[in-house]
């Protein structure tokens, strides 16, 4: 796995964990256990996103860090196989 793939896998892992917590909390808004899980996952997710975007480019268009190039359109497109981690 390349460094980019490792960083991407971390983003995808915590992004999906949050997805799952999101749905569960929508129907169980008072669950302390789920809320703790959510807050831990948000922290890990934000951290993973920060690592990814500083090293490999933006994941959304508000994360372009370069002051002289529009890097949003650079790199591979997520629907292409070579852009993805081989599991």
């Amino acid at each position: 796995m390349t460094e980019r793939e490792k960083a991407l896998m971390r983003v995808q892992t915590f992004s999906f964990a949050l997805n799952e917590a999101n749905l569960f909390l929508d129907t169980h808004p008072k669950s302390r256990e789920a809320l703790d899980y959510y807050h831990k996952a948000v922290k890990e997710y934000n951290d993973a996103v920060q690592t990814y975007i500083t090293n490999f480019g933006p994941l959304d268009f508000t994360q372009v860090l370069s002051k002289d190039t529009w890097t949003w359109t650079e790199g591979c497109m997520p629907w292409e196989g070579e852009c993805n981690v081989e599991i």
């Binding site: 992004s15 959304d60 268009f61 949003w72 359109t73 650079e74 790199g75 497109m77 997520p78 629907w79």
Partner: protein, 198 residues
């Protein structure tokens, strides 16, 4: 992948219910030149687009169109939520009401259900972008027609915003088409299909 943001792209606050206005504006949800078709057109076309800048533009405009679907639905919702049964009948909304009550369902002003046959995804950059240019103009004309039919200033303000976005998208698609042509044989743009021929 997508994430939902809990805000509208432009504020919508309609004070007066108006069933007749809702009946025509719903066409921009599920009609032939509506926002749902627009979003699905661009988001479907992007997969075969061989140039990153244009694939990104299709993603970004397609995403904005999803936000416009939400705005049209917000307009229709606000125009219809306080209508009495008498007002529903007088405004001609009874046929819609009997099937959907106060729910939002994608259809044209004439009641024709949303259909993917209103757009193409041809897998050819020049063909797709030329369709996209026409689509933006068709939506702009629809908004012009809505502005001719509606007199509520709260509605007019939002429709003017959406109309302006069609013009901006037309401009960007024109630039994208020019960028695509720059990649091709200037003596014959059609010598190859860059999305298929290697």
């Amino acid at each position: 992948m997508w994430k939902y943001e809990k805000q509208l792209q432009y504020p919508i606050r309609i004070k007066k219910p108006d069933g007749a206005a809702a009946k025509i504006i719903i066409t921009q949800f599920g009609g032939p030149d509506g926002e749902l078709g627009a979003s699905q057109r661009y988001l479907a076309q992007r997969y075969a687009m061989p140039y990153n800048d244009v694939a990104s533009l299709l993603t970004d405009i397609g995403t904005e169109e999803l936000a416009h679907v939400e705005m049209i639905c917000a307009i229709v919702r606000q125009l219809t939520k306080d209508l009495t049964v008498d007002q529903i009948e007088q405004s001609g909304l009874a046929p819609y009401f009997v099937d959907h009550t106060g729910g939002l369902w994608p259809q044209s002003a004439g009641g024709v259900p949303f259909s993917a046959t209103t757009f193409q995804s041809k897998g050819d950059p020049i063909t797709d972008l030329t369709e996209d240019l026409a689509a933006e103009q068709k939506a702009r004309t629809t908004y012009d027609n809505i502005l001719r039919l509606v007199d509520n200033p709260d509605v007019i303000d939002v429709i003017r915003f959406l109309r302006e976005r069609e013009i901006v998208h037309f401009q960007r698609f024109g630039e994208a088409l020019r960028n695509v042509q720059d990649h091709l044989d200037s003596k014959n743009f059609y010598a190859i299909n860059p999305a298929f021929d290697k």
